[in-house]
Symmetry: C2
Subunit: 399 residues, 2 copies
């Protein structure tokens, strides 16, 4: 038998998807499973975007420009202007989701053996992209007690070494929902400049900011123009995960020219998704207001209800649509599997993401779960109630 | 300034796209440019596929399964049955074009430092995917005199070493149009088995086979089931390059499980493209018959006219929609640029792809160009006539 690559063997399995067979088995037993495990919103995609697809006019569906249709990139700059991000179309490469943008960024600036610093817990697939590129993730732990704020600057200084090429943050954060403040970004900026590192910011949850807070972009950090790389996507903004349209943005011409070579090798981003994304730019403000109101109510529901559970703790994050909660459990992997395999309350159970998959430090997150509040309030209430009942009888309960 | 990766520096620029600025300048001077440089067909995408997009019914455009929609994979197996390729849906991972399928294949079976043998000239982006993965391409030269047939088995034996993991072919071939015979595939099969190598076949031009010939798939090689990997795409089959839908197929479960981890890391292939590709499976046979008739006439036109040019030679390939022609020129890169920059005939010129970009052996292909016969016969005639006139006055003419 021919061999599999070491890289392939080391690629992590998705922490979310490994529970899927257990969820399927539960459904076969007639148990209703509430899915709080994934970042797939139930919000409708804007009609204006779907209309553009229904009215698609081309007779030959051609390759687009490797950096994406110019008309889309031009209109995107207007969108970013409304967010106080000033860029031109040449500073954008349209990608197949944020996933491809992250890969292009890593590959353009890092070689195998290089290191990237990421505060943990972090989006699990960052690990996959790093392993794929032979890059080592150097995690710095953010704590649930501090609501997952930026770790102290001293922790970054300890992690920097001659192989370090970049710091990466997700802001607002997946999985914690944490929104970085202007001061925290300023600290990251200082570290990046001092050590000549790139600062990569995944800002795909930019629109989801609560309680009157403001999102601060990596593109607005003065003096950091040559070090900043922005990762973006329409997936969450327009509940359009299936479009597979994201982008890579930087004012560093060398980074863009290099990323463009990777973009040319894969020819072009999806054409239909680009047409829909361009049309989505006309989405009325009322859409976002409604969506934000809805998510705010969901967040408040989840945070309040979890904190009412004896032994549980959940910070009140200011962004995205996730929380990481601490539960009185021995092992979140076991617990999440047990919920699907051995538990039901009134013919219902809940699927959560074990937080262990969002840490790269072994043994971390064992008493934490990520909850995506992507279901309507009524279902959220039912599911957190199921969770409460489950914790009453879970054999691995710790206090 | 922070640094660019060595990998990024080594990524090749597209041999086709580097001439684009010269073509744009020519157009600005009012010169009509015939584009024989790209694999973007002018053929209409099947209506049945576009109708599926016009009638798209979902209200939330969600992530699909990471391996692609099951309904699409199920119907795909029926398509492959008609090609005498017997697979099941679990042996398919739907990808963002053949590009992503090639990356998944390389990453699943090869680590940095490993080697892959590819007969050259070969599709230029294979180089990019290899560099991206730290893999070394070991080229084996196929000759224009032999119509670019498979090089002798002795050449393969010479190229195999302990680092060799795979042999890759494109069949029918881009850029040469060469269609591998059953005997040639059998030879490749023997080498793969003897040295325990994977045999990767890029068969995206399967539908484009002329003169009563038959396409033989890597999936039909007896005894090679654990070593075969098929790369496919809807881009050429349905003139649907912008769908960005391809797939990776193998009966090797370990390869598929590994590729699936890479697929999960990027979440899912494009949703609209999958819907259109699934509908495209209902394309009537008449569509393919008409397209094939059209391409046959185009091929005959190009091959005949080029062979009439003094000092030029063009094999008569049996597949795809490319030819590699030898011209009486000093340097195809210079010549192709000169055509756009310094030449016009009756306010017209032609854009060709220098064949040098399709070789990884330095200095090869200097008197060869790739011609894509993706224009209608009338335009093809005009463009080869322009080429003929150009060769009369090109300063670097060699005979």
């Amino acid at each position: 038998m021919p061999t599999i690559s070491t890289k392939g063997k080391n690629m992590p399995e998705s922490p979310i998807r490994k529970l899927v067979p257990y969820a399927e088995a539960a459904k076969k037993r007639g148990v209703k499973v509430y899915h709080l495990n994934i970042g797939q919103p139930d919000i409708k995609t804007p009609e204006v975007a779907l209309d553009a697809i229904h009215n698609y006019k081309e007779k030959v569906v051609q390759y687009s420009h490797s950096a994406g249709n110019l008309s889309y990139r031009e209109k995107l700059t207007n969108y970013y202007e409304t967010k106080n991000i000033h860029i031109n179309p040449e500073e954008i490469i349209v990608t197949a989701g944020a996933s491809e943008a992250i890969l292009f960024a890593i590959q353009s600036i890092m070689d195998p053996g290089d290191e990237i610093i990421i505060p943990e817990p972090f989006y699990a697939n960052y690990n996959g992209f790093a392993i794929n590129s032979g890059v080592t993730v150097r995690p710095i732990k953010s704590d649930i007690e501090g609501s997952f704020a930026l770790p102290p600057i001293a922790e970054f200084e300890k992690a920097v070494n001659p192989k370090t090429r970049a710091i990466m943050v997700c802001n607002p954060n997946n999985p914690t929902g944490y929104l970085y403040s202007e001061d925290e970004l300023s600290i990251l900026s200082q570290i990046a400049l001092k050590h000549d590192l790139y600062l990569i910011a995944d800002e795909v949850y930019r629109e989801f900011v609560y309680d009157g807070n403001t999102h601060h972009s990596v593109m607005n950090l003065k003096g950091l123009e040559q070090h900043s790389i922005l990762i973006d996507s329409v997936s969450k903004r327009y509940s359009a995960c299936g479009f597979r349209i994201g982008c890579l943005i930087s004012k560093n011409k060398e980074v863009m020219a290099t990323a463009m070579k990777f973009a040319q090798a894969r020819l072009s981003p999806p054409s239909f998704g680009q047409v829909a994304s361009e049309a989505a730019l006309e989405t009325p403000q009322s859409y976002f207001t409604e969506v934000l109101d809805e998510y705010l109510e969901r967040r408040n529901t989840v945070v309040e209800m979890i904190n009412e559970i004896s032994g549980a703790f959940c910070p009140n994050p200011k962004g995205a649509f996730y929380v990481v909660a601490r539960l009185p459990i021995d092992d979140s992997d076991k617990f999440c599997q047990w919920l699907l395999e051995d538990f039901q309350f009134e013919k219902q159970t809940v699927m959560l993401a074990p937080a262990s998959g969002f840490y790269s430090t072994a043994g971390s997150g064992k008493d934490e779960v990520r909850i995506s509040y992507v279901l309507k309030v009524e279902d959220l209430k039912s599911s957190v109630n199921v969770l409460k009942e489950a914790l009453k009888v879970y054999p691995g309960r710790t206090n």
